[in-house]
Amino acid sequence: MTLRPPPRLTGLVALAAVLALAIAFSPVRGGRPVFLDVGNLTDILRQVSEKGILAAGMTPIIISGGIDLSVGSVLALSATLAGSLLMRADAGLWPTIVIVLAAGCLCGLANGLVVARWRIQPFIVTLATMSAARGVARYLSGGAAIPLGFGEGGAPPAFRALAAPIVPYVPMPAVLFLCSVGAIAVYLTWTRAGRYVRAIGDNEATARLAGVRVGLHKTAVYVIGAGLAALAGLIHCAQLEQGNPNDGAGYELDAIAAVVIGGTSLSGGVGTVGGTLVGTLIIGIINNSMGLNNVDANLQLILKGAIILAAVWLQTRRPAA
């Protein structure tokens, strides 16, 4: 089993290039580029945090040779469930968080068991979950969003901590995003389970012959991915002060894009969550820079497509091992 070196350097080169462009084209106020304001930089982290958490959870799944299309719907279901528990069931802060995370993990368990036991392609399995989770979310709320009210008879104000800065300029969603990346990095790099995931993605049959419990580890990556999607859903609910069953559509594709820009191969076996962090930041900086400059929305889509393609091209230009 030969593994190619992680593409950290090329990823960082692409990130540096995007940063340089963002600074060069930033609007200037008081002699300083607005892009470099501390407030703006932490805004970027907040703006990418939800999709970044999805992308962090997506990374082990893709490394294992799988894919998860259901995370956007699981995010919506989690946000709606959180709104429903807080506003209609009067569940407290911690019961809400525990129930939502457990429900998310349950979606992942369903994905993982069907993929691992029945050997059905993850693309189809998670496509089914994507539809079902969205349906449950809409059923739960009757189709409309559940707005959060705080104070008497409403949601506990402590729930807002999920969206607020911990200390000035450090928003909680950004901290949870970086913690998720850190946790996945530990899992993939320093645990035996993480090395097995890589081995399964590299060659499942070989891993099985070597005695790796393939079913267990494949199930685990889907549970982790959906659990993180539920965390992103809780943040989503707190940030927007509502649980909307129609939100999160297409988030799974942005998460997959961030993972791939970060150098993880869609064919499995190769990739790092550090790369995913870089990929997420590249997308976030591009969006922020174009937003600051009030670039025409149609042009934004074209430029984003071109830059994603360029970033992936940079990643694949390394010599084959």
Partner: protein
């Protein structure tokens, strides 16, 4: 009669169905069957074909898109079944009545409101809906025409947020970073106006500017409540037409003559006029 709705995933259309059902209770001789095309033209054509097989006496339809739905509506109309078209039109004139609001007019009234509250001077952020969609185009054009008479009213930033609260929040953060002073945020719908408000509040700048939205849906997550809570300065009713369509359908079935086109009027909702009291607890 049959009511073919193009997409029940949108709160505004859920409200339209609720209005139809509520008004229909006042006409005991009307029985309505519903269909939801889930934003799919082909499904909506099939829905109408199903209605025909069920033997409806009148068709109410809010088409997903004009062109793909025109042939089936013409077929129904030529078969002698009256057709009431709601909100989005179809091509030609092979239908009995069209009921809908005028987005251009709503944009104009929003622009005139902005000119009035700012005294004709101010810096505006315009948060736009899905590019190219008729409501986004007309709500923008109407507002631009209304403020054209005030050269000191400037649109300094006009991001697209695709009708979504979450995207409006991110876009507003960038507008706040890029502009030290903003006087008015005009959003093409209420969810985007509320998203912009949340972004400004997180930066402690929500008092600096007024937020104006469109739609004024009822319900806790609607724009009326946001005005009552003081989050939005004003919102403009985009009537669903559900109530009026049922009334017209009843008149048609009783053999009365009805106009070929009914344009619904908007209404401005401000904190004074909305008369609703916040029950979401202390706001902040």
């Amino acid at each position: 009669m049959g009511f073919s709705q193009c997409n029940l995933g949108e709160p505004w259309r859920v409200a339209m169905n609720a209005e139809v059902a509520a008004r229909a209770r006042d006409f005991p001789d009307l029985e309505i069957v519903y269909a939801d095309a889930q934003q799919d033209n082909a499904k909506q054509v099939a829905d109408v074909e199903n209605f025909l097989r069920q033997g409806i006496d009148l068709l109410m339809i809010s088409p997903n898109e004009a062109r793909p739905l025109t042939p089936i509506v013409e077929r129904v109309f030529r078969a002698g079944i009256p057709v009431v078209v709601i909100d989005r039109g179809i091509e030609g004139d092979q239908y009995t009545t069209f009921v809908g609001a005028d987005n251009y007019q709503i944009g104009r009234e929003a622009g005139e409101h902005i000119a009035a509250v700012t005294g004709g001077r101010g810096r505006i952020v315009e948060i736009r809906g899905l590019p190219g969609s008729p409501p986004a185009v007309d709500r923008s054009r109407g507002m631009h025409d209304a403020i054209a008479a005030h050269p000191d009213l400037q649109i300094i930033h006009s991001p697209v947020a695709n009708w979504l609260r979450e995207e409006a929040m991110s876009q507003m953060e960038m507008a706040l970073a890029a502009h030290p002073r903003i006087d008015v945020v005009y959003a093409h719908n209420d969810p985007m106006a509320i998203g912009a408000y949340l972004a400004a509040k997180a930066k402690g700048r929500e008092q600096e500017m007024l937020f104006v939205g469109i739609d004024a849906l009822p319900g806790l997550d609607g724009g009326r409540q946001a005005v009552a809570d003081g989050r939005l300065d004003a919102t403009f009713v985009y009537p669903t037409g559900g109530r009026e369509a049922v009334e017209i359908a009843s008149r048609i079935l009783h053999g009365e003559a009805v106009p070929h086109r009914v344009v619904l009027q908007t209404e401005k909702i401000t904190a004074k006029g909305s008369g609703r009291i916040s029950h979401a607890g202390p706001r902040g």
